[in-house]
């Protein structure tokens, strides 16, 4: 079995903006062992068939994060994705550049916006110059403090999450999952002395544009789980500052809303977050909705044993001032 090979068909995205009017897909076929990594296959294509194929890579060991690309429409590190399962499922392997980044040539994308978002979260320790480092040793951390970093130190900045993120695609104001997971890493770092300031700033710098769709967590080859750390940041930002932005106001408003009856009062929530304009919606949409769905004007019924919900809130939550 060790020597058995399969006929592998690759359809590779090719585009040179300097010369091509539009992108095209070029087909390459070669015989490879099923366990061959996609990156190895692409390097063989470049060495043996087509020296013009352009791609970015370095370590070949899933450490450097350079070779992230789309393999059969999914964000993957080419170096750790074997061709066998891809061929078994889809019959061929479609190779495309990362999404949400401009293509420079073939599989190489412009990384500048990705790194600009990273720089913006200030990815370094911010220390208080009046407090010197402990004498004679580095900053010791307890196991509990180390645990708070969760999986975030594993991030190799491959941008697979950035490529998969629908908020990045739709809104340049969203810094992307990687930058936010990095921000989390500094917010929980016991040596950092700008926690509050970081949380306050990110409230207006796109935190609340995260859709919690978890596509980043699904795409991440290192299981950093950015969407879950973004959730943590949201809770910490509310604890630090309360509901200062539409996003945090909405989360707090929702929490207080269901405390009243146990069920959501849709109209009340919309009014709380978006004001009377949001209630009516644009161009008569609100009125159309009321005509089709008149019960949104009524308050929901009260659940039975609502007092249990109230007691749970009393135990685990402090009452927020109404937004």
């Amino acid at each position: 079995m060790a020597n058995s090979t399969v006929r592998a068909t690759f359809d590779v995205y090719r585009y040179d903006p300097a010369h091509d009017a539009a992108p095209r897909y070029q087909r390459y076929e070669l015989d490879l062992a099923p366990h061959t990594p996609v990156l190895t296959a692409l390097l063989r294509i470049r060495a043996e068939i087509d020296p013009t194929l352009t791609l970015r890579y370095s370590c070949r060991s899933a450490i450097c994060g350079s070779c992230a690309m789309q393999v059969n429409s999914k964000s993957r590190l080419a170096c750790e994705t074997q061709i066998g399962p891809e061929l078994a499922r889809d019959g061929r392997i479609v190779i495309e550049p990362m999404r949400n980044q401009k293509v420079l040539r073939d599989l190489v994308v412009e990384q500048e916006p990705f790194w600009r978002n990273y720089d913006k979260i200030r990815p370094h320790l911010i220390l208080d110059p009046t407090k010197p480092m402990p004498e004679g040793r580095e900053n010791p951390m307890t196991p509990e403090q180390v645990e708070r970093f969760r999986e975030t130190p594993r991030c190799i900045a491959c941008a697979a999450c950035y490529s998969a993120c629908p908020a990045v695609e739709a809104d340049p104001g969203f810094p992307g999952p990687m930058a936010l997971a990095k921000l989390y890493r500094f917010v929980v770092d016991p040596r950092d002395q700008a926690h509050q300031d970081r949380l306050v700033r990110i409230q207006t710098d796109g935190l609340w544009l995260c859709l919690r769709c978890h596509l980043c967590t699904e795409a991440c080859p290192k299981d950093v789980r950015p969407s879950e750390r973004i959730r943590d940041l949201k809770e910490m930002a509310i604890a630090a500052q309360g509901g200062t932005e539409p996003g945090s106001r909405h989360a707090i408003g929702f929490k207080e809303n269901i405390r009243e009856r146990g069920l959501l009062s849709e109209m009340k929530l919309v009014r709380q977050t978006s004001g009377i304009g949001g209630l009516l919606g644009e161009a008569g949409q609100g009125l159309r909705m009321v005509r089709k769905k008149p019960e949104i004007l009524k308050r929901p019924h009260r659940i039975e044993h609502l007092e249990e919900v109230e007691k749970i809130y009393e135990s685990l939550d402090h009452r927020e001032a109404p937004p």
């Binding site: 809104d171 919690r212 596509l215 509310i238 932005e245 146990g262 959501l264 039975e304 939550d317």
Partner: protein, 295 residues
């Protein structure tokens, strides 16, 4: 089969047609729905953002209600499904459990963790469900092409939800084939509908919804169908925002999952509340050989 019916908030308010069509389908297929008027809202992901442990506690209370009755939970919303499932999972973390138990114990609420939370899509398709459904189809949906739209929290995080493949799910497409429709394969089917930021930044939410609707359309969909009433709000009620974002009309009818099944089981459009949608479903119904809903 008897299940603890967890309708969620929207199906009891603006999405009443979802509740109505769920009841129709379950009656037709012999799924008995036990009702619990003490169920609270799942927090819809927003309470989780504000206070994770509180969110686990209110959902463990919901799960405990079903456990006392010895029933698994039936959800009809991707977000309810996600929140209740995550509560089940996070409650196993001893640090979370300790705080949740401290809040629930004085109320006499105990939860042993035995309840499974299943979305209607799963109940209809697993353990031979597809074959049972096919036997009951009286009006196959014909040539209509439908783009399934799953909703994030039904699929992800996949390692925590323990059901379908998040990247290559097929249950919804299997279901559509079983009722005689033609499923459309498109990338947007597993993407986000934009709902969580509809009230935070409507223009961005509209762009995201528009992207997925256009994708379905480009792949030939006559209609879309979703197992999530929040996706339905984004894709149907706020399709005007999506149209504004993409700059042209979309005219995409969007069905709730049990409406599609109900039509194949012989329900009238009125019985399924199809006139309650903001985007008319008549063009899709015509392709199925059904008349438009009169009210």
């Amino acid at each position: 089969m008897k299940l603890a019916y967890y309708p969620g908030c929207v199906a009891q308010e603006s999405g009443k047609e979802l509740d109505r069509s769920t009841r129709y389908v379950c009656r037709a297929l012999g799924i008995e729905l036990a009702e619990f008027p003490s169920f609270s809202c799942c927090g819809s992901g927003f309470v989780d953002e504000a206070n994770e442990v509180l969110n686990v506690a209110i959902n463990v209370r919901n799960l405990a209600i079903a456990e006392r009755a010895g029933l698994d939970v039936l959800t009809i919303c991707s977000t309810c499904q996600g929140m209740l499932s995550l509560a089940n999972l996070r409650y196993r973390d001893p640090r979370v459990k300790e705080r949740v138990d401290a809040a629930l114990r004085p109320l006499g609420i105990e939860y042993r963790g035995t309840v499974k939370v299943k979305h209607l899509l799963r109940v209809l398709t697993e353990d031979g469900g597809i074959a049972r459904l096919q036997q009951k189809v009286v009006r196959p949906l014909g040539a209509v092409k439908i783009g399934a739209f799953y909703g994030c929290h039904l699929l992800r995080p996949a390692d925590e939800l323990d059901w379908e493949s998040a990247e290559e799910p097929h249950a919804f497409e299997d279901l559509l084939r079983a009722v005689g429709a033609t499923p459309v394969e498109y990338r947007g089917r597993v993407m986000c509908c934009g709902f969580p930021i509809q009230f935070v930044k409507p223009e961005t939410a509209g762009r995201i919804a528009g992207r997925q609707i256009e994708d379905a359309k480009a792949h030939g969909a006559d209609a879309m169908a979703t197992p999530c009433p929040l996706c339905h709000i984004s894709l149907d009620a706020y399709q005007n925002r999506a149209e504004k974002a993409v700059g042209h009309p979309l005219d995409m009818p969007v069905f709730h999952l049990p409406q599609v099944v109900g039509l194949a089981l012989g329900a009238t459009p009125e019985e399924l509340g199809l006139a309650r949608h903001l985007v008319p479903v008549a063009p899709a119904l015509a392709k199925m050989g059904s008349a438009a809903p009169s009210r």
